[in-house]
Symmetry: C2
Subunit: 166 residues, 2 copies
């Protein structure tokens, strides 16, 4: 499963649909819409275009941070960080069937997220990264090991990190 984030800051001027199409051509099965600088109006326009594309290609569409945008464009789910809506509130608005992902950097954040109804956790960065300005310090592999021990259910681990240690 390859989960690709679209992000204006990373796209070097290419439009979001071209980036997403290239990702799908390359094997992505989940596209995450992430645009922290766009207005809600623009985010919805981008989201509706991505929704049509991902439906056509049989891929999932996840919206970063915005539960209202996810509902408005009928996305498959939402990914929230620790500065976004708490997991339990997001789950209540999304209903039981949409996917809820939560970023967690500590065991406590992971426990709150799972108790609140998270379907998967975004854990990381595992190794130091320069690709995501707000990623925070690398948490190392220890948290992943602890999570795997704690939770019997499979948790998809999205590792926002460079692929090799610095």
């Amino acid at each position: 499963m390859l989960h690709v984030l679209t992000d204006r800051e990373w796209s070097r001027g290419r439009d979001m649909l071209s980036v997403a199409t290239a990702a799908l051509d390359g094997g992505a099965t989940i596209i995450q819409l992430r645009d922290k600088t766009a207005s809600t109006r623009v985010l919805i326009e981008e989201g509706l275009a991505l929704r049509a594309l991902t439906r056509e290609r049989g891929a999932l569409l996840i919206v970063n941070g915005r539960v209202d945008v996810a509902l408005a464009i009928e996305a498959d789910g939402v990914h929230v960080g620790q500065d976004d809506m708490p997991a339990a509130l997001a789950r209540r608005l999304l209903g039981p069937h949409r996917i809820l992902g939560v970023s967690a950097a500590t065991m406590e954040e992971a426990e709150v997220a799972v108790a609140g109804g998270a379907d998967y956790l975004g854990v990381g960065p595992i190794f130091p990264t320069r690709g995501k300005a707000d990623a925070g310090p690398a948490t190392g592999v220890q948290l992943l090991t602890e999570l795997a021990r704690r939770y019997a259910t499979p948790l998809v681990k999205v590792c926002l990190a460079s692929l090799a240690p610095r």
Copy 2:
């Protein structure tokens, strides 16, 4: 009916609850939560505190711009601008009973908003204002006159403007 907007930029360091309490003491019947710099997490914390206060005081609570925050804190409604979610989508997420306000600066924007399910329009600024950086140019009284002629149903006109012409 006195509709007061809380806004970090206008509050000169006083916390939002103090500002809202003073507004309610002064006769406000609607409080609008507006904080474009806060994270969603902080906005929800502020919103839950304002929800408790407005319930206690019998006032309405409207959230500016964010349909998800309004649903999460069980606000009475949402006010959206032209860069926020389109009125028709907001109405679909809010259901039939919550209040939907829409900012409109032209007759075309007003028509789209009313067709999309707006309960009231924010029209203005009627006169030039320096109180709201993103308010746009003053539309004058002409639009108000046209709207009053067009729509038989009463539309509350929220005039984000200084009270006197420059």
